[in-house]
């Protein structure tokens, strides 16, 4: 790694608010002059990370190094970084000129002078009015608002205010410019224009930009490097091309661009099975490993009828301007296709997918595993604070329950599993979601949803930060409050420790 040009580095940075982990062990560096975007859904920790770099928050753990020096505890006013705020945060009591000049008027610059003994000493002076005026004019020119110097802030439109906010930051010539969703409040057209302008500004100024956004298109358009975040953790760091073409996991694939996501099995020998077909591919995995497969809609191409790799029926067609977007049903799986070809719907079609356009990803998890579960005195298992009915006899093969609730082994030994620590394992498809908080055993909030061809994979998080990953055919909404049920026979239990501990005397 070439650390010569690194301007800022975050080493093991974590931020915890009242026991909630907002940023979790963040390790990352930015090179001088780079345009880096933190991308992720709300609550992923991207703004917190930015605020730690700005100095508004201090990391609970870890270090922030600017040019190799630890600045973690420096207050914002001593850091050579400036921020463009989401809601501009301009000063309404000052006009445009004074807003932009705010930082310059506070600045003191060193100069060399000779004292009475003739020694050279460094003293500090404020900028002169002429110097300030020159810089302000230049900054306003960069944002194309040079005529607006004496205007009142409140008379400006949102886009103009945003430009002033940018001018106010860049006029100080910061080493890093931080931008916290600066275009969020603008309308679509204005946003697109500003994206290009910001990129142009970045090129001209040569300052390092760190940009926070939840808009994947914005990040793809502007950045040199994208950091995809979720739940305070980095999911992937890479160039826009890398992230789009080689997503590391299902979350990244789903979040960036449109994608067809499937569950598949790697057959070995560069072959992968999904959509009931065995495709050639270019990735290497262990044979028979369960994997996630992503295929971008534009990478599915129509073939001559009956001569493609898979056959299906087109069920939907939407005109999108430069292409059509089709939905094809292959059995019970949906395939989204983008093509410039116009096809009739409700007719059978054949499609091909080239081996190098099939991207295979390791599955994060194969099932829900709770290693801190335990058995209560009614032979139920406690998972995420909820008591689920379960079959405790599976802990001793061939055993059965007696009338008092003790587990009787085939050899006649009796076991009392009260408070026994167990490992509980539940398949994604064995959990049921109930749409009210009282109907299930444990309730939580739907954090994310990913469509996997023929079903959704829903992530439900409880208040204690326990997760349930559920496969379901039904559509839910993010942020819904739901509860979960698990059929007793679907909870697989394994004792942690020796069974002999629990023998009843």
């Amino acid at each position: 790694m070439d650390k010569e040009n690194v301007i800022i580095e975050l080493v093991g940075v974590s931020k915890v608010y009242n026991e909630t982990v907002a940023v979790d062990n963040f390790n990352f560096y930015v090179k001088k002059g780079e345009f880096v975007s933190f991308l992720g859904p709300s609550g992923c920790g991207k703004t917190t990370t930015l605020r730690m770099i700005a100095g508004f928050e201090h990391p609970t753990e870890g270090k922030i190094l600017l040019n190799g020096k630890d600045i973690s505890e420096l207050p914002p006013y001593e850091r050579p970084v400036n921020t463009v705020f989401q809601k501009y945060a301009l000063f309404p009591h000052l006009d445009v000129y004074d807003n932009v000049a705010f930082g310059l008027k506070l600045k003191k610059i060193p100069y060399e002078t000779t004292d009475k003994q003739g020694n050279k000493v460094t003293k500090y002076r404020k900028l002169t009015k002429a110097e300030i005026s020159k810089k302000v004019t230049e900054a306003l020119k960069i944002v194309d608002l040079e005529e607006f110097e004496w205007r009142d802030i409140t008379t400006l439109s949102g886009g103009q205010q945003q430009r002033i906010a940018i001018a106010r930051a860049i006029v100080n010539e910061p080493q890093i410019l931080l931008l916290d969703e600066p275009l969020g409040a603008l309308d679509l057209k204005m946003r697109k224009e500003m994206q290009l302008e910001l990129k142009e500004m970045h090129r001209k100024l040569g300052i390092t930009f760190i940009y926070v956004t939840h808009d994947q298109e914005e990040a793809l358009t502007m950045s040199d490097t994208i950091v995809v975040m979720k739940d305070g953790q980095i999911q992937q760091i890479g160039t826009p091309e890398d992230i789009y073409n080689e997503p590391k996991n299902a979350f990244v694939a789903d979040f960036i661009g449109e994608s067809n996501l499937y569950e598949g099995v790697y057959m070995g020998n560069r072959k992968v099975r999904f959509l009931n077909h065995i495709f050639d591919c270019v990735d290497d995995f262990a044979a028979n490993e369960k994997v996630n497969v992503v295929v971008r809609p534009e990478d599915v191409t129509f073939a001559e009828a009956g001569k493609g790799m898979i056959d299906g029926i087109l069920t939907e067609k939407v005109f999108k301007g430069i292409h059509y977007e089709y939905t094809m049903m292959v059995g019970r799986n949906e395939v989204t296709i983008q093509s410039t070809e116009s096809k009739e719907i409700n007719l059978p079609v054949s499609v091909n997918i080239a081996p190098d356009l099939i991207h295979i990803m390791k599955k994060d998890m194969l099932s829900n595993v709770y290693d801190d579960a335990y058995i209560d005195n009614d032979n139920r298992v406690i998972i995420a604070g909820g008591a689920f009915d379960c079959d405790v006899t599976q802990l001793i093969p061939g055993s059965h329950l007696d009338e008092e609730g003790y587990v009787v082994a085939p050899d006649g030994k009796m076991y009392d599993f009260k408070d026994a620590d167990v490992l509980a394992d539940v398949a994604f498809s064995d959990i049921e979601i109930v749409d009210n908080e009282d109907g299930g055993v444990v309730c939580g909030r739907i954090v994310s949803m990913i469509y996997l061809g023929n079903h959704y994979q829903v992530l439900i998080r409880t208040e204690d930060d326990e997760d349930f990953v559920v496969d379901t055919e039904y559509t839910w909404n993010e942020d819904d409050r739901v509860s979960v049920l698990i059929p007793a026979e679907k909870i697989r239990l394994k004792l942690r420790g020796e069974a002999s501990k629990y023998v009843k005397n």
């Binding site: 700005a54 100095g55 508004f56 207050p75 914002p76 006013y77 970084v81 400036n82 921020t83 705020f85 989401q86 809601k87 945060a89 301009l90 000063f91 309404p92 009591h93 000052l94 705010f102 930082g103 506070l106 600045k107 106010r168 930051a169 100080n172």
Partner: protein, 265 residues
């Protein structure tokens, strides 16, 4: 043919009548009394008598000084209180606020008399220290009127603006003088007008707390009317009206003041 239709403007009628009866006519009455003598002839004599009298000038001066002092002291105490009440980390701001404005709910005369007795008990005798006792009584009575408008402006402060100042290199003290203070200026002006003017014209507080040892404009108006000198009383009222008008004019340039004061009730 025009029919009389019920339109929205008719709703303003009761208020208009009220204003005419209780504001416009009394004002003209005061003016009429101020510039006439006992026989009803127009005269400037009342005005000349008032300004020719050393004690009247003294009264205005004392009222003015007490008004300014009360305003400054109330602001010095009320500003930090409002700032902390409005701070985002403040737990239960409504309850804290209640503690500060609760005294306003107790009868004014009772509250003033009680504070006199309290001061007497701790050794500040209104007869001996009329100015000190009056000042304490004034600050106690008017503090809530300062805290409320200041609190309202401060809750409107956008925390990101304070962060922006810090981000642009302002140390905490510079952030205060260059951002927080100017942005809360409307609240300060509003608070000041709500304290300064009533202080100058109040007479109960100075009467009760100062044991009648000092006389403010309000006291002298009350005295003239008690003695049946309506024409003299009216001219003092007119002078005070002018003073208040000048005060209002001096602060009218500060914007957004009204929506701050509007939250008082």
């Amino acid at each position: 043919m025009s029919k009389i239709k019920f339109t929205r403007k008719w709703l303003a009628l009761p208020y208009a009548l009220f204003m005419i009866l209780f504001v416009v006519i009394p004002l003209f009455l005061i003016l009429a009394y101020a510039f006439t003598d006992a026989e009803g002839n127009f005269t400037f004599n009342n005005l000349l008598t008032f300004f020719g009298n050393g004690s009247s000038i003294n009264t205005i001066l004392v009222s003015f000084i007490i008004g300014v002092a009360n305003t400054v002291i109330c602001l010095l105490i009320g500003y930090p209180v409002a700032y902390f009440l409005a701070h985002r980390d403040m737990k239960m701001p409504a309850v804290m606020m209640l503690l500060f404005i609760m005294p306003m709910w107790i009868n004014f005369v009772l509250r003033t008399a009680a504070s006199r007795d309290l001061l007497f008990w701790i050794g500040i005798n209104g007869g001996e220290y009329p100015y000190l006792a009056t000042m304490i009584g004034m600050v106690y009575n008017y503090l809530p009127f300062v805290i409320l408008p200041l609190y309202t402006t401060m809750t409107k402060l956008d925390y990101s603006q304070i962060e922006a100042a810090s981000d642009l290199g302002a140390r905490p003290r510079q952030t205060f003088t260059k951002v927080i203070l100017p942005m809360t200026a409307p609240g300060i002006v509003s608070a000041a007008t709500m304290v300064f003017m009533p202080t100058m014209s109040s007479f109960v507080i100075s009467d009760v707390m100062g044991e009648r040892k000092l006389s403010l404009i309000g006291n002298s108006i009350q005295l003239y009317f008690d003695q049946g000198l309506w024409h003299m009383g009216s001219i003092v009222a007119v002078v005070m009206l002018l003073l208040i008008a000048i005060g209002m004019f001096a602060t009218k340039n500060v914007q957004k003041e009204d929506d701050v004061r509007g939250t008082m009730l």
